[in-house]
Point group: C2
Chain length 675, copies 2
């Protein structure tokens, strides 16, 4: 009877098999389909294939130590270890050979498809499936007796060592291939995109591959540099979108493109340049060259998406709001003139509809509302609010023209979120006196230390979340009616209420400058929140629900807003407030997922096709919802969940009396729904 071959068990996968004595662990792992990384192809150069010799079952019972179950350190392994010491119990799986039964642990860092942990507790981890992979190969030298192209011998090496057949090759790689092969002594590392195309080549061993997740907003552009080997974000940066000088909001940019020949091209040029500068900035932080960025994924609203791709967005400026392309687009960095590696592929996520862009697709990919039975509402508030509603059965999306009021624009003393801006406000229910906090300080304004703390920045204006709070607080204090009218009769009770033309204002701050909430400001917020609310309501009508199970607020605004006040003003529908949370930069997270997990691209492309697109501009009900939603909601009747949280003032009749027009409109629109 022959002794059986040694048993090798890999953890954490639990995969196991018997292998002849002398089999390299890496080969055993490959045979079993155990996920172990390698760039150098088993030459003890890259160190990516490290494993840990575990003290497992065998060691408990056996006579030999676990380490004895493997061949001793090879010469190459010793060479590697002298450059880059191996931790205790670690071996290079390409060098260590099986001698006896053994349990081998594959640490996360050695897995190709490791999990990338995301910060938010609610977020799923990203599984690493990068589209660009590095492969080190040794290429046969040219032979006059059997002439062949250097590229053909490189391709043969990639087929032989990496089972990569029929690889295409970008022209710029071909142009530099000969000097690179010779500089590397016929040893080179190539970057292969999607197992189908050679996009870069370096002499010798090269172990740097980076990707860029790009979130191109109308106001700001954010970039996250990711190490494609680990999936980690190694640097992030943001900057203003330089297109702002052509128009503050999206529609003014489309107008610019319409009115100025070459205007779209101008806006394309500046946004591409800004992306290049951001790439340079994050690269510098990480100590790499921007040319080390081999892949990018991009989200943005449809107009930003089109402008980055060099498509004139004029069609998005009017009905029928036709996208040039709704499916995902992949271009090279060189084609769009963005200074990464010229052959880096830039993947733009699909757009959903004329007003619902790749940013919404990114949000869906980051949040995956399709994975649960719960009805999830996703809202990304910008100049347009992009709204997604649904669960595993149905997904609906629309965009609603909130305008820039939530970002502090169109508000008399509004400003962007920046140090000095008021972001938190409380109004005393009796005295109507305010206290507030500014960005950059943790102190309330009635703290004796506040003046000193605020001296550096001053109190400069009110940002989006501050406006929401002050108006909600004024409502809760009875200064503002459900119809949004500042009650002038209170001027008798408080010097804060002052006449302002034929209406009244509330003086929030009187310092070097006076910051007041005017009647016009309240109207601007009412219009914005009515648009948001109407969009959400429209989707809820279509889905046939009266409540949602959870709400995720995306974007900067969603991160800063106090959801309680959003609920008071009726910006969001009734929902347990514990289930209303910030999704952070969900669109940007979607870009990062698409960048790191290539399989997610098919997922979002398929999901987007399933999304039911609602065009608010042509929905008659939208207008009705909008008119109705101008008022501040009716106490607990409209928002029962609020009862637990804030003490609402006694019912204030609206101008139109009793039941608000929204409830009437809803009833008319959904006759089949029980009221």
């Amino acid at each position: 009877m022959t002794r059986p071959d040694p048993l090798v068990v890999f953890t954490p996968s639990g995969k196991r098999g018997r292998f002849a004595v002398g089999t390299p662990l890496l080969a055993a792992a490959r045979t079993l389909g155990v996920d172990i990384d390698s760039v150098c192809g088993g030459r003890a150069i890259c160190g990516r294939c490290q494993v840990l010799v575990a003290e497992g079952e065998f060691a408990k019972h056996g006579v030999r130590s676990a380490a004895d179950s493997l061949s001793p350190l090879s010469e190459s392994e010793q060479r590697y270890s002298s450059r880059q010491p191996l931790a205790a119990g670690r071996r290079l799986s390409c060098q260590a050979r099986v001698e006896a039964d053994v349990v081998i642990d594959v640490p996360a860092g050695s897995q190709v498809h490791r999990q990338v942990v995301r910060k938010s507790a609610e977020a799923r981890d990203i599984e690493l499936y990068p589209l660009v992979k590095l492969h080190y190969v040794e290429v046969t030298e040219p032979d006059m007796q059997d002439p062949s192209g250097d590229l053909q011998r490189l391709q043969a090496a990639l087929a032989r060592e990496w089972q990569l057949a029929d690889l295409q090759c970008d022209l710029t790689v071909l142009q530099q291939l000969q000097p690179v092969l010779r500089a590397g002594g016929w040893k080179v590392t190539v970057a292969v995109h999607d197992a189908s195309r050679i996009i870069a080549v370096w002499p010798g061993f090269h172990d740097e591959s980076f990707g860029l997740a790009l979130d191109v907003g109308s106001t700001t552009i954010a970039a996250h540099l990711c190490d494609l080997a680990s999936g980690e974000v190694v640097a992030s940066a943001g900057r203003m979108n330089p297109q702002i000088r052509f128009g503050e909001d999206l529609m003014s940019r489309v107008s610019y493109a319409m009115m100025n020949p070459g205007g779209a091209a101008q806006m394309t040029a500046v946004v591409r340049q800004a992306i290049g500068e951001l790439a340079a900035e994050v690269s510098a932080s990480a100590g790499i060259a921007p040319q080390a960025i081999l892949e990018a994924a991009l989200v943005g609203n449809p107009i930003m998406h089109h402008l980055v791709l060099g498509i004139d967005p004029v069609e998005l400026g009017g009905a029928p709001f036709a996208l040039a392309v709704d499916e995902a687009v992949t271009v090279t960095a060189a084609e769009i003139g963005v200074a990464l590696h010229p052959n880096a592929r830039v993947y733009a996520l699909p757009c959903i509809a004329g007003h619902v862009g790749a940013d919404a697709a990114g949000m869906i990919l980051a949040e995956r509302p399709d994975l649960t039975d719960e009805i999830t509402l996703l809202v990304d508030v910008g100049t347009n609010a992009e709204i997604v509603l649904g669960n595993r059965h149905r997904l609906l999306a629309c965009s609603s023209p909130t305008g820039p009021a939530f970002e502090g624009a169109q508000i008399s003393c509004g400003q962007r979120a920046a140090p000095g801006a008021i972001e938190r406000v409380r109004v005393d229910r009796e005295t109507l006196e305010p206290r507030f906090k500014i960005i950059g300080s943790d102190l309330w304004s009635n703290d004796p230390q506040f003046a000193a703390a605020a001296a550096a920045t001053g109190v400069t204006g009110i940002c989006g979340s501050g406006i929401i709070e002050v108006i909600a607080e004024l409502y809760l204090a009875g200064v503002i009616s459900r119809d949004g009218v500042i009650d002038g009769s209170l001027a008798a009770r408080s010097p804060r209420i002052v006449p302002h033309g034929r209406t009244f204002s509330y003086m929030l701050y009187t310092g070097p400058q006076t910051l007041s909430i005017t009647q016009t400001d309240v109207r601007a917020i009412q219009l914005a929140k009515a648009a948001l609310s109407a969009g959400i309501r429209l989707l809820m009508d279509r889905l046939g629900v009266e409540r949602v199970d959870r709400i995720r607020l995306a974007g900067a605004f969603g991160s800063h807003i106090d959801v309680k006040y959003a609920a008071v003003l009726g910006m969001i529908p009734d929902c347990d407030l514990e289930q209303v949370t910030s999704a952070g930069n969900a669109a940007g997270s979607g870009a990062r997922i698409a960048l790191l997990d290539s399989r997610s691209r098919a997922t979002i492309e398929a999901l987007v096709r399933r999304v039911e697109k609602i065009e608010t501009a042509i929905e008659p009900l939208f207008q009705a919802h909008f008119v109705d939603a101008m008022a501040i909601p009716h106490r607990t009747a409209d928002y029962p969940s609020l009862r637990k949280v804030v003490d609402l003032p006694a019912a204030t009749p609206t101008a139109s009396g009793g039941e608000g027009p929204r409830r009437r409109a809803r009833r008319a629109a959904t006759p089949a729904q029980p009221v």
Copy 2:
């Protein structure tokens, strides 16, 4: 019993079938796989689907005329006919419907895959399988209720009307798609490359697609503009390769690249610009814009091939003469900065070896020596001679460093083939007096009218074919020995023989300037022809043949040379002179075939892999053959076929006496061959 459906017979294919009354002829043809063209997709716009109603078998026996077997002219057909009258008996097959049995002739002009007739009697016709096809489509307008990208609706139309699924789209097409769709009222024509990619789009119906066949030689660049619908060459042009200012021959250009940083890039820039200018020139002749050129095919020697692609050719300047790439390469016109349609794909034919380029591949494709049992020798004489030998069983190729002597360079009174250059020479065997012809005149120089005829140009020098003739004639007249020595003793007999340093010259022409053949000139031609001969001999050795069945001489030199004199000098091996013919610009023809018949690309790519590549630089036998071939061949012993044609002088012993070293070497090299 029901009456059977009408029978439709298509000629010349003979395909037949029964179709329900009312079936459009085009649909019937498609069902049977009959090749009928259409761009407009059956809308009576393009007129490409015209057929002829034949008076066939049925008409002979039947009671109705053939024309009655079809529906009457439709309204659309009448509209077409009013713009573009239909010839008698012609119908648009998309409009004419079957009513009774009928015979339909599909004229060549209506076939997609028509035969393109080539000029030379020996050349096979080209079957038209262009890679770029035009398709007219009507695109659904955008709908806010069901938003989708314009590109997606275009793709849907192409899938619906043309069964073209999963089409990719070039970015520049996407960038202009929206305005083009609207300008065309949602009717557009697209150019689809290889049934896989949209590379161009025009508003409305568009019926122009052109291709460019490019032959990039070291000295001249030739371009042929082809109509991709008919396959016809509509314009041709050539110009000097502007790289000449960096070096007359290939090796001096490689040296320039080696010695001057950026030198290769300079040469790349000028050759690309010249190609763009040629494209503009042929486009202007044809009355089209260069942007109407949607496809190109390119041949050239390896160094030209690499420089056009932007690859530094330094590796081709020394052993092991490694190509960067030997397989076919496809790039866009934009990628290589050539001013055609930016998305035009440029197909560079495969290279064979470091000295045997895409031009040799083009020659093989044009001549197809692999199709017969006959042993064919293909020779393209330039600065290097590219030589292919073989038949259906084996193909061998090499390059031989002939230098530029055959092109008139390195010859004291040599010049390029241009008006005024001596191209034909006869030397009287008795008086040793010459007569000659110059390019641009049909008169011999001893004709009384010659002086007047030559006045316009003068007699300016000797071109390649003139040099061959004068040296061969001088040999036949006994002025030059088999060793190539000008016999100074003849100076006594003729004033044409004059001393020139320590050797002698032959004064061919004494006018305003004297044109002489010097001893150095003879040596230069001996070196060139020895190199050519040694290369050919090497391939014959390898193939194990002593004779070839046919010889095709390609290139300008091959077109002008009198093969008898080439045989006298021993430039070509023994072969029935009737089987030695010019192949014209075979490399350029190969480019045209690759352009027009896309299937031929796979053919040449496979053939090139089969070719046995011989590197003359490392073949010890090459040197032996070369030394041996310096002498002029031994009468009829070396070239029995010549016996019929020219009266050879009596045997003149060579310096080395009796049997030449070549025969000795050959014997040594092929011991198995009977001597």
